[in-house]
Symmetry: C2
Subunit: 212 residues, 2 copies
């Protein structure tokens, strides 16, 4: 088995699960021991995660879990608007990715009904990843996936990832329906408004939590 790549996955899982909290310092010695790998191997994984934006690396000061501040959140939503809206606007009809979106919405509904908000958050990520897959661009999906993972850390930071997602289950549905039944550009417009509202919600949570 290839240790290093699965180590990245392992770390990523813990990061987006919130086990390694935003801002937490990641000691090389401690983590190497915990995951039973050498420091060198761990450092290679750190470089990957650093390039993905999930951890922050300051020379001689070590690696810490990314802890997006207000301007990071704003930047992330800038990216989301540019990429998601552009992709949806130019999406062809009858793209297979739409099926994945539909499934995500479906799962989100049942998860919301069960009050499993953590799951709703995960499925929400899946929905928007599926949306970007309408572009048929692996590079766009990769970059977007990184940004979305970073946003997940922002949610974790203010610890309100649950009800923040609540109103957006329905709006995902609307965006999908508009794309399917009306037009891509109409859907893109709705998505733009969606993202604006979502951004405001997150920034509001930041303000309440007194985060910068």
């Amino acid at each position: 088995m290839n240790h290093e790549s699965s180590l990245v996955n392992l770390l990523t899982d813990r990061l987006i699960a919130g086990e390694l909290r935003p801002g937490a310092r990641l000691s090389e010695a401690a983590l190497a021991k915990e995951f039973d790998v050498s420091r060198n191997t761990l450092r290679e994984a750190f470089r990957v995660l650093g390039e993905q934006g999930l951890v922050n690396h300051i020379p001689h000061r070590g690696v810490s879990v990314a802890s997006p501040n207000t301007s990071d959140v704003i930047d992330i939503y800038r990216v989301r608007r540019h990429i998601e809206c552009s992709v949806l606007e130019n999406a062809p009809k009858n793209h297979p990715g739409a099926e994945q979106m539909r499934r995500a919405v479906e799962t989100a509904h049942s998860a919301a009904a069960a009050d499993d908000w953590l799951r709703v958050g995960t499925v929400n990520m899946a929905f928007h990843n599926a949306l970007v897959s309408l572009s048929d661009s692996t590079r766009l999906m990769r970059s977007f996936g990184n940004v979305l993972a970073e946003l997940r850390l922002a949610f974790l930071k203010v610890e309100v990832l649950d009800f923040l997602h609540a109103p957006f289950v329905e709006r995902n549905q609307e965006v999908l329906d508009t794309y399917l039944d009306e037009s891509p550009s109409a859907a893109a417009a709705k998505l733009g408004a969606y993202l604006g509202d979502s951004e405001r919600q997150v920034l509001g949570a930041y303000a309440r939590a007194g985060q910068d």
Copy 2:
């Protein structure tokens, strides 16, 4: 001095300068000796470059310079269209980034006059990076920069990076003028056509060179 980060820069420079040709295998032992660093340090740099898409890493088979094939080129231009057009479309008037674009166009003209096509290529990259900076998004610039660097490798692969850029000096100028004097959306439309033509040129060169 921080070896590792400057090592990444060093390698990046050699890659986009074409000293390390696309597809070339990068032996750990050889490169470690050449740059006078340890294998471990070099491997950390490799992980960063791999995440940026500049090198390809296959487990147990080592690292080689990325060698974009036809579908990679197509994917890269998909990303360019989505990002560049969206950014330009939504760009505010009087953004300071426009000044950088202007300077790039200027430099490109004089470099073209001096038949320094390699420099024209570099400046062309600067122009489009400046264009994306109109988004004020550091993440978008970072992702886009990676994709553009990868495209540079595509040019190097077919060894025609010189005159491929020739017709586009003038079109950069047009896009900039349209953005400044007319409207962002008119400029975005021109840019879209620009990118379509550019893509066709590159794919044509690939076909001529018999590359897949």
